[in-house]
């Protein structure tokens, strides 16, 4: 059945909604936006596994649910493993003729804590075994649901409740774990970064991840007004600044080939991104310079890889 679509310029977007309105997300929640878009891209035949996190309470509190596709709450670290079990079951049951043949997307949708930290072993196992699932990391750069505690995805310098900006220690002291690179090292067919501020890019990437034969991974920066301390109307703007400053570049790795999706001739200064966010307000000039130097280096490395492969 073809879905009804709306045309945005050259882009067609399904009118179907699989995440109802009325859920409990904070105003300006980046992940509400990204889930809505991702489910539009994947369509009705999608089974979703979501670990403990904001979306435990936000999307489904008995007797209500915002999910209009089969959805389950998994444990913190096992959404990928549960999805791999579902995928294996569907495959063998179709092979044995016990259920009708059809394409179903198996989506594990997890936060950065569930992905980078507690669930990294399970995810690595699923990627290595080559299960045909889509994994989306909703990266809001801390454990937001439990009250803004640092994760390994928290950027250097950011203040969280477990990496507070104190008199001696000025916020997070470590650099953000490069999870997409770790995933890409598994040599799966499709890895991408995305941000709901670039909705068509995000939807295309989720679709590509689903079409890939084997695991597809999309790492989505999910601006969080509550945790990052910015006014909720700035969510899309903040996401754009993350990309335009090179702080969170949008790229994809298709069968090992890197491609930059947004590549501006000059990057905006990283300060433009840091300034509107309360979590960075304590940073010294020296720290900001340090962050700028790091962003420059990482961005140059990414570009070099893209250019070398193109040559």
């Amino acid at each position: 059945m073809e879905s009804e679509v709306i045309k945005f310029g050259k882009n067609l977007v399904a009118k179907d909604e699989f995440l109802s309105s009325g859920h409990r997300a904070c105003q300006g929640c980046g992940s509400a936006l990204l889930i809505r878009l991702a489910l539009k891209a994947l369509g009705k035949d999608t089974i979703v596994c979501v670990p403990a996190g904001c979306w435990s309470g936000v999307g489904s509190m008995y007797p209500e649910t915002a999910w209009e596709v089969p959805w389950m709450q998994t444990l913190f670290e096992n959404s990928s493993a549960v999805a791999s079990g579902i995928e294996s079951a569907f495959r063998i049951l179709m092979e044995k003729g016990r259920i009708p043949e059809k394409h179903v997307n198996f989506l594990a949708l997890a936060g950065d804590g569930a992905t980078n930290d507690i669930g990294v072993a399970a995810l690595s196992g699923v990627l290595e075994r080559g299960h045909d699932i889509v994994y989306i990391c909703m990266d809001n750069e801390a454990y937001m649901n439990t009250g803004i505690q640092r994760s390994s995805a928290t950027p250097y310098g950011a203040a969280t409740t477990t990496s507070p900006a104190g008199k001696v220690v000025p916020g997070q002291t470590t650099w953000k774990k490069d999870m997409p690179a770790i995933v890409a090292a598994h040599e799966i067919p499709y890895v991408a970064t995305a941000c709901p501020s670039y909705p068509f890019d995000l939807m295309n990437k989720v679709r590509k991840a689903a079409e890939a034969k084997g695991p597809g991974y999309v790492h989505v920066l999910s601006p969080c007004p509550t945790g990052w301390r910015f006014p909720p109307q700035l969510t899309v703007e903040i996401g754009r600044l993350a990309v335009e400053t090179g702080f969170f570049p949008l790229y994809e790795v298709e069968d090992g080939r890197y491609k930059l999706n947004v590549d501006r001739p000059t990057l905006k200064p990283v300060l433009d991104y840091l300034k509107p966010q309360g979590r960075f307000r304590h940073l010294s000039e020296k720290q900001i310079d340090k962050i700028q130097a790091r962003v420059n280096r990482k961005y140059a490395e990414l570009k070099a890889r893209v250019t070398a492969q193109a040559a």
Binding site: S88, A89, A122, S124, G125
Partner: protein, 391 residues
């Protein structure tokens, strides 16, 4: 025609899963369970079993993949032991609470430290409150029969709960015994195809494992408890039908020369077979003593316990696991608690031993009975008395 073949306990478990035509196996190796999943890998590799075999990266993921597979409508099997069993612990609760009839064999092994590989029941006892059906096998035939029958009652729409079949590490998992394997046709007659009523279906989307407030949580837990308790009747029915087809009948508590005996020893798992010889010797000497083998641990067989103890004056319980700092072994504690209101006249003795593969001999079982009788008469200076342990 059924056939009688030599099989180690691990292979008996694997044969049962094969004949049950399991759809998904999620497996991670750990001693002394590994032969089970190796055998199943052979079956799949040789085309003797058409199943998705997921070689996961941990037991936590093994049970997680079982959850997804079972919920999607696949008959699902796994195996583990000891530390691996502990790693899955968190997931065990969810598989039971999500009402998924996963069947698992546990080749029981002691818990570290000290690091070990040998058998006892410490791993099994840690899962008492997870909501799983728990059954202990005493020999390799029982492993086969229990695994097969578990699929039948676990998948019954009145139950929809997971079950673990416990087999003693090495004592059963690695020992070859004659096992009667039935015809596939008989198995098919006993075991219908698995159909979960609430599978993940994109045409009928549902939300699973939804968050609940204090307002509703306890009612769900109570319903789960009632279901687990009431599953006993379904288990009994399934075992009756199993007996009618295969000729071997099982009960939650199996008596051996126990009819009318004044003194009863209760044991669990493979060591009951050694205890039987000790009972024979004592009976030959004219002692009035019998054996109860506890097969069904969850749901706890209250009624069967009352009946088994109808004529008994003394009950000696031999526990194969230690409840550190607690009121004795887990079985004696629960048995006492179950009988407190009913049989204040029974004299009890609880003894803990056979830890980490230090299996008692026939003679030592005779000592267990003798010492048990002494404790029952005169009491013990210790809350937890061990036997065969120095110091």
């Amino acid at each position: 025609m059924s056939k009688r073949v030599p099989l180690e306990g691990s292979f008996a478990a694997a044969e049962a899963a094969r004949m049950a035509d399991v759809d998904v196996i999620a497996a991670y190796p750990i001693t002394p369970q590994s032969h089970i999943i190796e055998r199943l890998a052979d079956f799949v590799a040789n085309g003797e079993l058409n199943a998705a075999y997921i070689p996961v990266e941990s037991e936590h993921s093994a049970m997680s993949a079982c959850w997804g597979a079972s919920g999607a409508g696949a008959r699902t099997f796994t195996a583990t032991a000891s530390q691996g069993f502990f790693l899955m612990h968190e997931v065990l609760y969810f598989v039971a609470g999500m009402r998924l009839p996963v069947v698992m064999t546990v080749a029981n092994r002691a818990v570290g430290p000290p690091t070990n590989i040998w058998g006892d029941h410490s791993d099994a006892m840690s899962a008492r409150d997870t909501g799983w059906i728990q059954i202990f096998a005493a020999n390799n035939q029982e492993i086969f029969d229990f695994v097969l029958s578990c699929f039948r009652f676990c998948e019954d729409p009145r139950v929809l709960l997971p079950a673990m079949v416990h087999l003693d590490g090495f004592t059963l998992s690695h020992v070859v015994e004659p096992v009667i394997l039935p015809e596939q046709e008989e198995v098919n007659r006993f075991l219908p195809k698995y159909q979960h009523p609430y599978v993940y279906d994109t045409d009928k989307p549902m939300s699973y494992g939804i968050v609940m407030s204090p307002d509703t949580y306890a009612e769900v837990k109570k319903a789960q408890d009632i279901t687990l308790r009431e599953s006993k009747e379904v288990i009994l029915q399934a075992w009756k039908e199993f007996g009618d087809i295969f000729g071997r009948y099982y009960s939650p508590i199996e008596g051996y020369r126990s009819q009318g005996a004044k003194t009863l020893l209760m044991s669990t798992g493979a060591l009951s077979e050694t205890a039987k010889v000790a009972i024979d010797r004592k009976r030959d000497r004219g002692e009035d003593v019998g054996l109860l083998t506890l097969h069904l641990w969850r749901p706890f067989p209250f009624q069967e316990l009352y009946e088994a103890l109808k004529d008994a004056e003394t009950l000696i319980v031999f526990d194969r696991s230690i409840s550190l700092g607690g009121p004795g072994g887990p079985i004696i504690s629960e048995v006492k608690s179950a009988l407190f209101d009913r049989r204040r006249d029974i004299k009890f003795a609880g003894l803990v031993g056979a830890l980490c593969g230090r299996n008692p001999s026939v003679e030592q079982f005779e000592e267990i009975i003798d010492r048990g009788r002494e404790i029952a008469e005169k009491g013990s200076s210790e809350v937890l008395e061990t036997i065969g342990i120095r110091g």
